[in-house]
């Protein structure tokens, strides 16, 4: 079995967001970059499949040289090889999907895993777009995955609980928190990863889909009001304000 794991480098969740001088991108100063947390579940699942039934795991990222950190980490955690597609991995999900599809299409991957969304861009689009471009099955926001002989069974989160999706491999599966508990890299893994090289390829040309034209911070919220007095009085004042001022009820 051959597994591709697509990983995205994203700003850490605790990052304060500043807009760059161009007015439409993130100011990278002071941003700490991490592997998108949902991609960590995807990678962990691939490694568990490798440990369970045996698989070759290829880690891939689209980005600049900086994205090599994400791939080094993936190698340390247990990926067999790593590929950097040099291109804009932060922008348009449609373009990224085309780049990964162009790379993956003739390589015989049985399973492609990635996060259900890249933290920050929050598009939740690359996985299903990739599945369509490759003409394969998809299951998104997956919290449980079982593989059969050329088939998969995935439990995915929906509004009122979850649903079971069954389909044929190859497939694109996008991971959700709960799929597994990602491990930390061992010293042995980190040392072994140092001996591995990251294959660098130019990303295939891609057609633009959607682009950010303006990035702006949300408007400040107006100053609030505190309810005074004993708990009972505070509770009553709050509900009255919600009813009469805010007209929530």
């Amino acid at each position: 079995m051959k597994i591709l794991v697509a990983l995205k480098q994203v700003p850490d969740t605790e990052s304060r967001i500043k807009v760059a001088a161009d007015g439409r991108s993130l100011d990278p100063a002071d941003v700490k970059w991490i592997t998108s947390p949902y991609d960590e579940y995807a990678l962990e699942e691939a490694i568990r499949i490798k440990e369970g039934k045996g698989a070759e795991v290829v880690a891939l990222s689209v980005g600049s040289d900086a994205a090599k950190d994400v791939l080094k980490n993936a190698l340390a955690l247990g990926a067999d090889s790593a590929v950097l597609l040099k291109g804009d991995g932060q922008g348009d999900a449609y373009q990224v999907a085309q780049m990964i599809a162009a790379y993956a299409k003739d390589k015989g991957f049985d399973l492609i895993l990635c996060g259900n969304k890249g933290l920050g861009g929050d598009n939740a689009a690359m996985g299903p777009m990739l599945a369509e471009l490759l003409g394969v099955a998809q299951a998104n926001v997956v919290v449980k995955l079982e593989l059969g002989d050329g088939t998969f069974k995935a439990e995915r989160e929906i509004e009122v609980g979850s649903e079971i999706v069954e389909g044929a491999l190859p497939a694109v599966i996008t991971a959700q928190k709960g799929l597994n508990e990602p491990r930390y890299a061992s010293l042995k893994g980190i040392m072994a990863a140092k001996k591995k090289t990251i294959e660098e390829l130019e990303a295939a040309p891609a057609t633009a889909g959607a682009q950010v034209s303006v990035l702006a911070l949300p408007p400040e919220r107006p100053a609030g009001r505190r309810m005074e007095g004993e708990p009972a009085a505070q509770a009553l004042a709050l509900l009255q304000a919600l009813k009469d001022e805010a007209k929530v009820f």
Partner: protein, 323 residues
């Protein structure tokens, strides 16, 4: 044409779909286009309701092969409908199905896609979308380079507006079958309440709840005021047995209710990112310096274990939520 993929539940138009249709009507009026509503399933009984929200045409793909949701089959039905009608804008609500199928349909149409948008407009005949990024820490105005433009609308953001449309019925062929994947079973969670992303009122608990069992008082308040209970990452990760589906924040659900009541939540950046789109925010916290108060329209500094039961009592006394 502006085409809106709509969902039915128990033969009724789902509210997020009514919201997407209402927004579609507004965009169609602004750009002199027709509005089409598209349905797929074993039965599309109830689809006529789309005319109430301004649909000029109601397209239905009906057949036994569409009885269970299939990502690839539904994406093909939607893409075929877009092509057949020459639609330039495709909308769907950002529901579990909408978020699954819309990007797949977009790729099939070689179209750009904006997900979970909170604002849409037509600028020089092209769609422009406003969407929260970095879980609401910033907003991105998104424009499209492709001929077809696809967007999903965030539930609870776009107002439902009734406006009579012709609703001319049109039947589309259902695909033959042999799909790449299909939903076999739906496992409903106990209670079967509305999802956080669609809830109008959310009562949320954080580390200050001290234990999962204490969420009972939040359930009681939520029941009294017609809300749903959520939790912060700190609470979900504390090992109190709270499911991740309850988590509000950048790595959980991003919500936009009318009212968000944060109980014992300090207001970490990643939590705020998930709920700052709420219309009204109430903070209940014993620490007067908690950052959550900076966001709150109304704040109560106090012990949530005293305040929350008082709120439940007062809600009942005032007859709130009993309508």
């Amino acid at each position: 044409m502006i085409l809106v993929f709509c969902e039915l539940k128990d033969g009724q138009l789902r509210k997020p779909s009514a919201e997407a249709l209402s927004e579609g009507r507004r965009l169609a009026d602004a750009s002199g286009k027709q509005l089409g509503a598209l349905f797929a399933g074993a039965s599309c009984a109830g689809s006529a309701e789309a005319a109430k929200f301004g649909a000029d045409a109601i397209l239905t793909a009906e057949g036994p092969t569409l009885a269970s949701y299939s990502s690839d089959a539904y994406a093909a039905v939607i893409a075929d409908a877009v092509k057949a009608k020459g639609a330039t804008v495709l909308l769907a609500a950002a529901t579990a199905v909408g978020k699954d199928v819309a990007p797949r349909a977009a790729a099939r149409l070689a179209a750009g896609y904006a997900s979970d948008v909170t604002g849409l407009s037509m600028v020089d005949g092209k769609l422009q979308a406003l969407r929260p990024v970095y879980a609401g820490k910033a907003f991105a105005t998104t424009s499209f380079a492709s001929a077809v433009q696809v967007a999903t609308t965030r539930p609870n953001v776009f107002p439902v507006a009734e406006k009579a449309g012709a609703g001319t019925a049109e039947t589309l062929a259902a695909p033959a079958g042999d799909f790449k994947s299909v939903v076999k079973e739906i496992l409903a969670k106990a209670g079967g309440k509305v999802d956080l992303s669609e809830a109008n009122v959310i009562v949320s608990g954080g580390r200050g709840m001290k234990d999962g069992a204490n969420f009972k008082i939040l359930e009681e308040l939520a029941d009294a005021i017609g809300g749903v209970v959520g939790a912060s990452r700190a609470a979900v990760d504390a090992g109190w047995g709270l499911p991740h589906s309850m988590q509000v924040g950048q790595t959980g659900k991003v919500v936009s209710p009318t009212l968000y009541i944060a109980c014992g939540i300090s207001g970490a950046i990643q939590h705020v990112a998930g709920m700052s789109g709420s219309k009204f925010i109430v903070a209940i916290n014993k620490d007067p310096e908690a950052p959550i108060f900076k966001l709150a329209n109304y704040g109560i500094v106090g012990d949530l274990f005293e305040v929350v039961p008082e709120l439940t009592k007062a809600a009942k006394a005032l007859g709130i939520g009993s309508n």
